[in-house]
Amino acid sequence: AQSVTQLDSHVSVSEGTPVLLRCNYSSSYSPSLFWYVQHPNKGLQLLLKYTSAATLVKGINGFEAEFKKSETSFHLTKPSAHMSDAAEYFCVVRSFKAAGNKLTFGGGTRVLVKP
């Protein structure tokens, strides 16, 4: 069994300040973890993924996330927020399953960026 908890449903930051989106997971197996972003009226886009290689993962648009097994966390960060970062972000864990790639999504964190 697996689950994902995004600790904040909404995050508000000022442009140019750091962004932190928190994610905790549980998984019976060594997990693969992802962050997806969804801009208004757009489909989901993959930001980054962790698949048992380096624990610090760099993604697109200046985002990065660190896999911490001891804390079962996979928090997403960006040093300096941009107005275009306003979107909803989903933390996702992949089930270890022979057929298909079943994903379990967190509830989402909506990011507001203030000028």
Binding site: G43, T51, G100, T104, F105
Partner: protein, 117 residues
């Protein structure tokens, strides 16, 4: 680029109607998925398919069925629509290829927002 398209962006249906949501992908992916997205709940998996004519139930299959007659097309069917099926529906696809870890990534369509009155 991978392209996943969904037949409608918006649909309005009445309670009891049969509803078809269509999804097509152009990357020869083996795996296809249907999710629904509701505020605060993230995406929940309804059904998925890892091959033509194959299907598996996801976490919330009740009230839904699916069809995969061709590799590129995966249809979601609401046999008798109900108001609690008002939601955003997202289709996704992924490859089963192990090359470069590419099997990990799912590619999503833009979504169909369904309103059942």
């Amino acid at each position: 680029d991978v392209k996943v398209t969904q037949s409608s962006r918006y649909l309005v249906k009445r309670t009891g109607e049969k509803v078809f949501l269509e999804c097509v992908q152009d990357m020869d992916h083996e795996n296809m998925f249907w999710y629904r997205q509701d505020p605060g709940l993230g995406l929940r998996l309804i059904y998925f398919s890892y091959d033509v004519k194959m299907k598996e139930k996801g976490d919330i299959p009740e009230g839904y069925s699916v069809s995969r007659e061709k590799k590129e097309r995966f249809s979601l069917i609401l046999e008798s629509a109900s108001t609690n099926q008002t939601s955003m529906y997202l289709c996704a696809s992924s490859t089963s290829s192990l090359a470069g870890g590419s099997q990990e990534t799912q590619y999503f369509g833009p979504g169909t927002r369904l309103l059942v009155l």
